[in-house]
Symmetry: C2
Subunit: 351 residues, 2 copies
């Protein structure tokens, strides 16, 4: 049977609870499909700072580098958010990990589930049938440019920088995916103001020549933030830089009715990391109410990445079964709901 | 009777059509309230580039500097958007004007109209009663930091820079406004990643000490983009930097049912500019279908700024009357609608 090393980083807040369900389910998948998964755990984020002073201990990084794929929970802790002077921050761990593993493309699928359409703050006729794939550049831009704060706290800056190579590699992935979909790529940028955005536009126009069956259109990020709500069906594949991708994809999460449903894959040349797009929700920590679906669907993307398509399909089908059966957590059903573990068990039993 | 010099810059696309209605209405206001408005016209944007090669001719800038207030239409033209190599761009005119006039605070009110609630893509129970005031910093940040593209088009960068003074002056306006409202300021930032955001957090925490009756809370921009749709009533006053403000306020425009309803005021020490938040919508240019309400409500903010409160009130009341009478343009009523000029006339007749 095939052998895979999966690094598991539960992280902060509700990260451990939701990741726990995914691991449980991956174990069931392994036995049903006769794969061999080796799960190796590492610490990261606030948890790692408390234990070691370092948000990404060397050991954890090595573990990830030697793995076939990384399953990640969530990061962030209010102890740091409300302290602008903290020198070490949990998020640095995740950013460093993305950079060190070269995870240049963050892929976020946005879709609706029939039985959850009424949970969305948006009207049914607006969102029904939405199917968007967001490609967010993940290891460059203002996240990774030079940063500076003067010692008197009088000024600060952050540099947004992009090179041709940064843009080319993710653009190809987006165009290739569009070829398998509705053949449309929308580049979201602010080319009327930013030099980096004009570079994106120029290079994407060049790359579009290699994909004559795909249409490339451009949209300013302010307009995109509006169109995402007015007319989400306009979009097929969205391609965008790091910060705009962060904002637009969290915004898009409202379409499906809960951010607790949305997985993501971060892909590089030699490695990949899978994480829910939701955060660490410290308020919900330890209460057993967190929705594990985003993490479980991230595990399905992990199976796809490992080439285990049929297992990924089975897993997605089981999640859909749970959702259509209204076997869901409180974010999706205030009246009758199930705990994180109950939802995980329901899904693994179905497999 | 009081004397005021108003610089009028109709700009591009639908700018001239909507501005035309506002000027018409301000003339009626002047005669009813016995004010004396002198309207001086200037060219700006794509129009100005075509005529003079310069998106903000010196003459236009002087006109604005010598005015009591500026009424502006819209800017932008697809001839430039789709050409990443264009050296001169319409938007540079607006950005330069904001900078030269020192318009550091862009204020965008977001509210709903009872009769338009069904036009919103959002559900009634989500948006009903929303009343948000957005304070967007307007002359600093990544819009005005150093920009660079190397000559081979291999890389580019944009610098986001903030100084204490940039933050302090707009923060005071936001806190003062909150005192007259629901006493809550939400700072939208990305303090888990950006040095500039941490500077904002730190300085706003200091300033909050001076306003003990106002609560300051913090929200990451990705989460804010989500909460704006999930729970817009969470917000009272939003305070944010330039780029985040651009994105969040366009997004928020969906709440009211049409971006064609939303005015803005850009305020500095010695001058102020009033403009709809919508763009130049070149597709609609010259068709007489553009919604003039955003421009007309911008004129009402102009009246407020000049200290002509009763006139501003009267104007807003007239706009509400038109909206509640369903005397609106096609964006708000596909079945029975009126032209830009008809709506303008209806409002001015009511005054
Ligand atoms: C935690 C934070 C640094 C991160 C980001 O901004 O990339 C998160 O919001 C995400 O989208 O994965
Ligand atoms: C036209 C453009 C430069 C401008 C901006 O980004 O500030 C516009 O979107 C706005 O919000 O006024």
């Amino acid at each position: 049977s095939k052998n895979y090393k999966i690094a598991v980083l539960p992280g902060d807040g509700i990260g451990p609870e939701v990741t726990n369900e995914s691991v449980k389910i991956l174990k069931v998948i392994a036995s049903v499909f006769n794969y061999n998964f080796q799960f190796d755990y590492g610490v990261m984020g606030a948890e790692a700072i408390f234990q070691t002073g370092n948000p990404l201990p060397e050991e954890t990084l090595e573990l990830c580098k030697n793995s076939d794929a990384v399953l990640f929970g969530a990061i962030g802790d209010p102890a740091f958010d409300n302290n602008p002077d903290a020198k070490v921050r949990p998020e640095q761990g995740l950013l460093k990990l993305r950079k060190e593993l070269g995870l240049f493309a963050n892929i976020r699928p946005i879709k609706t589930y029939d039985s959850l359409i009424k949970k969305s703050p948006l009207k049914k006729e607006i969102i029904e049938g939405t199917d968007i794939q967001i490609y967010r550049e993940l290891i460059s831009g203002i996240y990774f440019g030079e940063k500076f704060t003067d010692e008197n706290g009088e000024y600060a800056y952050d540099v947004c920088k992009y090179s041709r190579e940064d843009i080319v590699r993710i653009a190809h992935l987006a165009f290739q995916d569009a070829q398998k979909r509705k053949k449309k790529v929308t580049l979201v940028d602010k080319a009327n103001v930013l030099d980096t955005s004009r570079l994106w536009r120029k290079i994407c126009q060049e790359i579009a020549q290699e994909y004559p069956d795909v249409t490339l259109d451009f949209m300013f990020v302010d307009n995109a933030a509006m169109q995402m709500i007015l007319n989400p069906k306009h979009f097929d594949v969205i391609l965008t830089e790091n910060m705009f991708g962060d904002i637009i994809s969290d915004e898009a999460s409202v379409i499906g009715g809960s951010i607790g449903l949305l997985p993501s894959a971060s892909i590089g040349e030699d490695n990949a990391l899978f994480e829910p797009i939701h955060g660490s929700y410290p308020q919900a920590k330890g209460k057993g109410i967190a929705n594990p679906v985003a993490s479980i669907l991230s595990a399905a993307m992990l199976l796809d990445y490992l080439g285990l398509g049929p297992a990924a399909e089975k897993l997605r089908e089981s999640v859909e079964h749970a959702i259509e059966s209204r076997y869901v957590t409180v974010d999706l059903n205030a009246d009758q709901n199930y705990s994180t573990a109950e939802v995980g068990n329901f899904i693994s039993d179905y497999i």
